[in-house]
């Protein structure tokens, strides 16, 4: 919690998540997480599997309602019951699974759900859709030659770019990217990283969840490390080495500490008991 306190001096935060807690039955997914993001700032959110990154971001995107905790967005305390609430405030999340419709063309995907219309709202304004799509893609430096081919025919990087571009066309203030580069070829990763830079240069705050640590140093201002449902470290990306980051993620000092060992042993013992009971 210490890094969060030190950042409290900053003037206006885009979003502050304070002491967020979420429990799923016996599992403490989030154990009091505090996270702040400034305007135009790119945050790298890292941590091992099950560290709570995705849950935390789902809370921020309105997909998960936390048990307790406070979210302050642009200085106002907010609470989200649905993703729609979060979206209305300008929080967009691009999910890992590339939420695109493969059979619909690029322009159609960009404007899915809010297509430009004509003839009193009865018909799609297809021409305007393609024109606007071209403009949006150009503004984001995304090079997709045709906007009338189905996105299923695009490369992974192009598809990811379209997914991000769609989120950006909503005019978000905060963009959450969940593993945007996970399944991409090296050259395509560059595309997405450049796109992140372009978007943040336009004043949009970005939270990037990724396992590709080398990407983080390319685009991030700060690196937030989560460990077992807590925010373990809040690091300046420019002054942090990869080694330091890795050791924070795997939580070296905690593993060495006796307390954590006891916890591990206890967990193992519990597991054994249940195994025995099953037999």
């Amino acid at each position: 919690m210490a890094p969060a306190e030190s950042a409290a001096e900053r003037t206006v935060d885009r979003v502050v998540m304070r002491d967020i807690r979420k429990r799923y039955g016996m599992v403490d997914a989030l154990r009091g997480v505090t996270l702040r993001v400034g305007p135009g700032e790119v945050i790298g959110l890292v941590g091992d599997n099950a560290a709570g990154k995705s849950t935390l971001m789902k809370v921020l995107a309105g997909a998960v309602v936390p048990d307790s905790g406070e979210i302050v967005f642009d200085g106002q305390t907010v609470s989200f019951a649905t993703p729609r609430d979060a979206r209305e405030l300008g929080i967009e999340m691009v999910y890992q699974d590339l939420a695109l419709c493969d059979d619909i063309d690029v322009a159609g995907n960009l404007f899915l759900g809010r297509e430009p219309r004509k003839a009193g709202g009865l018909l799609l304004d297809v021409a305007r859709m393609h024109r606007d799509a071209r403009r949006h893609l150009d503004a984001l430096n995304i090079r997709i030659p045709l906007t009338d081919i189905p996105v299923g025919g695009l490369s992974g990087g192009q598809r990811q770019a379209v997914a991000i571009a769609r989120a950006v066309t909503f005019g978000p203030k905060l963009l959450i990217l969940d593993e945007p580069t996970a399944a991409l070829a090296v050259a395509e990763v560059e595309t997405v990283l450049e796109l992140i830079k372009t978007v943040s240069a336009q004043g949009v705050s970005v939270i990037l969840i990724t396992h590709r640590l080398q990407d983080l140093f390319r685009v991030c201002d700060r690196l937030c490390v989560m460990y077992e449902g807590t925010l373990r470290a809040d690091l300046d990306a420019r002054a942090t080495s990869l080694e330091r980051l890795v050791s924070e993620i795997v939580a070296h000092d905690q593993i060495d500490s006796g307390k954590n060992d006891a916890g591990e042993a206890g967990g193992r013992k519990e597991h054994d008991t249940t195994e025995g009971a099953r037999r």
């Binding site: 759900g113 018909l123 560059e190």
Partner: protein, 350 residues
């Protein structure tokens, strides 16, 4: 930083240029062409098949290529086409409606019965169409709002509607008074063109525009392609999923009215195997059973192809029992082609 190697397909910017790294794998010309051909290949193919069949029957069956026969053929295929237009929407959402044949029987039977009870024909027509929409609503509610596989829902409705039709008519055909205006729906002609054909053409045009040019059509494709993605954009996907079944219910009721008025009798045995014919027409036209791809033009060509085969075989004095065998075989072949052959064109990956 990590890469400066040019990619295999992308024309990467030279070293002298400012580092616009967003340059990427450019969609190649062939990928472009594939995407477009893949979209239309099946429609083109079925069009070619139709033309070949027309030529074949024109030379082998004496009376095939006469205006009278062709108009008759169109009238025969009109109910199928009307329901196939609606079915294209359902199948594009990756749904299916097996209950249309039973709905045809029920709506035709009930129309004849209520007319016999002295209902005003206009009122009867409206009531029958409303009933069709209601049947579709029930199908859609179970499938879309309760997430029960539409295959099972509409199979159950198939049985319920057929049973209701049999119960209502006690298995007998009910005659329809030929003096009523409603009979003109099935038997009338405007400028020599049968009324069902005119209706089918109008409905096909509206269906085409709806699928390709309206937000609803876009959502239908989106629902079949990636429903979760569509839902996340804020579209009420359940409503879209329900609406398509209302369309097939409505279309099936209209088809039932057309068939009953054409024959001047409502029969609970009408529309047996009708759902197979309709689904074959849709699949033959290139609409994917897995959703996401629907071609209205393909459906129209598919329905015409089925009509030409049925009509041509009869004119060649082939036993009408073979028509069913041929239809089933065509369905199987079309699905095979859909998932195996056309997949090579790249646009199909499911």
């Amino acid at each position: 930083m990590t890469t400066s190697e040019p990619t295999t397909t992308g024309g990467r910017a030279g070293a002298g240029k400012p580092p616009v790294v967003s340059e990427r794998v450019v969609t190649t010309r062939s990928a472009r062409a594939n995407a477009h051909i893949g979209k239309h290949a099946q429609t083109i193919a079925i069009g070619v098949v139709l033309v070949l069949l027309l030529i074949f029957f024109a030379f082998s069956a004496d009376r095939f290529a006469t205006t009278g026969n062709l108009l008759n053929l169109l009238r025969q295929i009109s109910p199928t086409l009307i329901v196939a237009i609606a079915m294209t929407f359902v199948i594009s959402t990756s749904g299916i409606d097996l209950s249309v044949g039973s709905t045809v029987a029920l709506s035709g039977s009930l129309l004849a019965i209520v007319l016999q009870h002295g209902w005003d024909p206009t009122l009867a027509l409206v009531a029958i169409l409303a009933l069709g929409a209601l049947i579709g609503f029930v199908n859609g509610w179970f499938s879309s709002y309760q997430n029960i596989p539409p295959f099972i829902v509409t199979l159950a409705m198939l049985s319920i509607m057929r049973g209701t039709a049999l119960r209502a008519t006690e298995g007998y055909s009910t005659p329809i008074d030929g003096d009523l205006w409603i009979v003109q729906l099935g038997q009338g002609r405007v400028a020599g063109i049968p009324v069902p054909v005119i209706l089918a053409v109008v409905i096909a045009a509206v269906g085409w525009i709806t699928l390709t040019r309206t937000p609803f059509g876009r959502y239908v494709i989106g629902l079949g392609s990636n429903g979760e993605s569509l839902r996340r954009t804020g579209v009420n996907t359940r409503k879209v999923g329900l609406a398509v079944y209302v369309l097939t219910g409505l279309a099936a009721a209209l088809a039932g009215v057309l068939i009953a008025t054409r024959l001047s009798s409502g029969s609970s045995n009408a529309g047996t195997g009708f759902e197979l014919e309709v689904i074959t027409a849709v699949v033959l036209g290139g609409t994917s059973l897995f959703g996401g791809r629907g071609s209205m033009l393909g459906t129209i060509l598919g329905a015409l192809t089925l009509g030409v085969i049925a009509n041509g075989l009869v004119l060649l004095h082939v036993s009408p029992f073979y028509v069913q065998i041929v239809q089933g075989a065509i369905l199987l072949l079309a699905i095979f082609a859909n998932s195996k052959v056309w997949a090579r064109f790249g646009a199909v990956r499911k």
